[in-house]
């Protein structure tokens, strides 16, 4: 028998302190009311990812009951024009398009816009006023989530303006204030530290949600479930059984109109320092004591701190860089990187980066972690491949048979799932051995497709769950790890560039770093 929480008052009427109707009802809905402010609401990220995510969260009844959205950007829009723009974003990019009119009408009345200049404090004061109105009108409860979806160069300005307009968390005594910071968090160690200094002036670490959308992907979250919700993997998850770990984030796309940005970034900054390093941490971390965000993030940081930093002399032994030349992808001719719009014709920027990292701790000493990421490669694939040692003594199979090593592959995209390669006897009189693959696919295994990462991450930030966001110490350490490589690559021009054809598996030199790369 369950109980109801009542207390008797003087007039004989019971006072209820805990909602008794909530018992036994599982709900994904976010309980705290809140208003989310999107800085850079007229930009590409908002259009393609963020607004569709908000709509889907409403559609799936995950947004809090009392919710508001304010767009804040330079483009001139009236509230009505912005609502129409938001609706178009959903229709163009949501997995649930087209919008349901009746639902949209309800959501749209909670959306407004401020045409703003980030240098002008009065516009932030207007935002403060609008937030007050929202809190009155929609019962948003003084809970505020600021989302920095602008170019990173504007982050410090927005953060300091929030403080000037008295929108900093210290002034908000009636609710919470949090900030989501899009990647990249800095363009190198020094700039990341400088940005962090600005953030720290206004927000405490617990109020900062540094987003890396890779961490919101279902399979990435499943890495921990695979490791720590099963007993069969963890005992063999060590240097005693694992020969190497390969983490791949390969794209077939080029710079897609972002040549200006990419030419100042490159694969190491754009992918390895954040996405790929985060995957490495999840694979290599020790079991956390609890599922608490900080318990997990502590373990991730420990992995990073155990990674050996290369000296400048070691950089070329543990890294390979590449830049794509013209080639063919999917039967279509594509231009060389240096011929892309807004890319310098003599660019030294790498579009491919591969690293070999060593983790100096008891679990991983001697196990190479190979990381690679690149553009215009043969196949779009993100995966983690864990290769186990060859069997110590061969009992089965004909001489001509190859006994493959066991490989566990965690597939992140485009398919999300897990596969395991093992050897089996081919039916028949002979003792032929052949490798077979056991596949688990999220779509067919659970009969549902995973939700896009941004939906999960925005909802988590509203809930105050920072597990899937990167803490500053890990960001800083990840920069420390890649900086020696970055500095050497920047200081020494690679005369072999371009050194791989678009549509290939990357530069030939990568095979000297790791002859066992899985084919793309």
């Amino acid at each position: 028998m369950t109980t109801t929480t009542h207390a008797q008052t003087g007039d004989g009427m019971a006072q209820v302190s805990v909602n008794p109707l909530r018992a036994g009802i599982e709900s994904s809905r976010i309980s705290d009311p809140c208003t989310i402010v999107f800085f850079g609401a007229s930009g590409d990220l908002f259009k393609r990812m963020l607004m569709p995510a908000i709509y889907n969260l409403r559609l799936n009844d995950i947004l809090p009951s009392h919710f508001g959205l304010i767009g804040f950007a330079r483009t001139q829009y009236t509230d009505e024009q912005f609502r129409d723009y938001c609706k178009q974003c959903v229709n163009d990019f949501s997995r649930s398009a087209p919008v349901k009119e009746s639902l949209w009408n309800d959501l749209a009345q909670r959306i407004s816009y401020i045409s703003a200049n980030f240098d002008d404090t009065s516009h932030f004061e207007a935002l403060a006023k609008r937030l007050e109105e929202y809190e009155q009108q929609f019962g948003a409860g003084h809970n505020r989530l600021f989302y920095l979806a602008t170019p990173p160069s504007v982050f410090p300005k927005i953060i300091s303006q929030l403080k000037r307009a008295q929108l900093d968390p210290d002034r908000n005594t009636k609710g919470w204030s949090r900030i989501i910071v899009e990647k990249p968090f800095g363009i190198d160690l020094a700039s990341a530290q400088a940005l962090q200094k600005e953030v720290e002036k206004v927000f405490r670490e617990s109020q900062v949600y540094r987003i890396d959308h890779y961490l919101g992907k279902e399979t990435v979250q499943d890495i921990m479930a695979l490791r720590f919700a099963n007993t069969i993997f963890e005992p063999i998850w060590t240097r005693n059984y694992i020969q190497s770990v390969q983490i791949t984030a390969a794209e077939t796309l080029g710079v897609e109109g972002r040549g200006g940005y990419y030419d100042n970034a490159g694969a190491l900054r754009d992918m390895i320092q954040n996405h790929v390093m985060n995957l490495l941490a999840l694979v290599a971390m020790e079991p956390p004591a609890s599922s608490d965000a900080d318990a997990i993030r502590n373990e991730k940081y420990k992995v990073f701190s155990a990674i050996e930093l290369p000296t400048p002399e070691q950089v070329f032994q543990m890294s390979v860089r590449g830049q794509y030349d013209a080639g063919t992808i999917g039967g279509e001719a594509v231009p060389a990187y240096r011929s892309e719009p807004d890319v310098r014709p003599d660019s030294n920027t790498e579009t491919y980066a591969a690293l070999k990292l060593n983790i100096n701790n008891w679990r991983w000493a001697g196990v190479p972690f190979y990381l690679r990421s690149g553009k215009r490669l043969a196949r779009k694939v993100s995966e983690i491949a864990i290769t186990f040692y060859q069997i110590p003594h061969r009992l089965f199979g004909e001489k001509s048979d190859t006994i493959e090593q066991n490989v566990l592959v965690i597939k992140i995209q485009p398919d999300e799932g897990i596969s395991m390669r093992f050897n089996a006897k081919v039916p028949g009189q002979k003792n032929h051995i052949r490798s077979v693959t056991m596949d688990f696919n999220y779509g067919t295994g659970f009969g549902v497709q995973s939700a896009p990462a941004y939906e999960r991450l925005i909802a988590d930030a509203m809930r105050g769950d920072a597990t899937l966001f990167t803490r500053w110490d890990a960001v800083e350490r990840a920069w420390e790890i890649v900086m020696p490589v970055l500095e050497v690559w920047q200081s020494i021009k690679d005369r072999a560039f371009p050194n791989y054809a678009a549509g290939s598996d990357g530069p030939q030199a990568a095979t000297t770093l790791n002859p066992g790369w899985r084919p793309l």
């Binding site: 369950t2 009542h6 909602n19 019962g139 067919t444 009969g447």
Partner: protein
Amino acid sequence: MNALNVEDLLGALAHERRDRGGVSATSLNVIAFVENDDRLLQWMAETSDAFAEAHGFRIVLLDGSRTPESHSVRTHCREMGETLVTSLEQIQLGVSGMGAQELRSVVHGLLVPNVQNVLLWGGSHVGDERFSKLAELTERVVLFSSSSDKALESLRELTRLERTPLAERIRDLAYMRLLSWQDLTAQFFDEPDLIQELPSLTAIDITSGSDPEAYYLAAWLAGRLGWEPCGDLQFCNTAGDGIRVNFHKEGLPRRIRSIRLHSKSCTFGIAISPDAEDLICLTVEGDKARPMRCVPLHDVDIVSLVERAIFSNTDGGVYLDTLDVLRRLFESKQA
């Protein structure tokens, strides 16, 4: 039906499986019983294919209207990577004239050992001995109390199981379908200012297309709020004040259309939007009025509902509380 027939059936199934796919992914046995309802029987057969997209299982489809001469087997396969996997094994068997003990024995022989067993009971009443015998084989029992012509009678019969060990294993789709409505009702009172209205509720209006849903919803509220049945469709709260329950029949069977809760100073309304059938609008009128808010109606499809019924964990006794209130409500009605 004797043991040889069971072996024949399993042999035919194995033969079929070999023809269609090499690997079996069976992790669940579903025993489905249907009587005098060809539509439900056909629905169960069709739903099996949809269910098999997500789960590997064997379904033993028992047709209470046909004799054992009527039987068939089939399998359903899907590709996973390079492997063809058998995800559904279906045995359809006429069981008319078979006694409860014999039925239990035959079905037991047809199950895959060492996996979870579930009974989907589409029979006319749960007082049937065949129901209790088949339920003995399973860890979960899924009922469709709202599907029969005598739905309220079925519900009344179900409440008699409330104090038996079987009750904890029962999931009634008529109750499970109410989840969104329960959640929306609870939403009002998540707000600290509005939660104080709960002790002063005076009346409930529920509009639905069939009776069990309305009874379940009223009994759920009563169970959560500590109300006691005190008359024909009337509850009394802990202070002894009466709460009148009014049921209105409107709309599709097995669907709620609206709920209104009246307190001394407010009325809380949840209703399907007049503009769109897939939208529910929430209103608070009176002293603590709130702007109307609309949310999508999450009308879970039947396959997902069955899936939820099979795999969902306990709700902490809330369903049993609800059955208990219902039983006493029916008893007080009879008295």
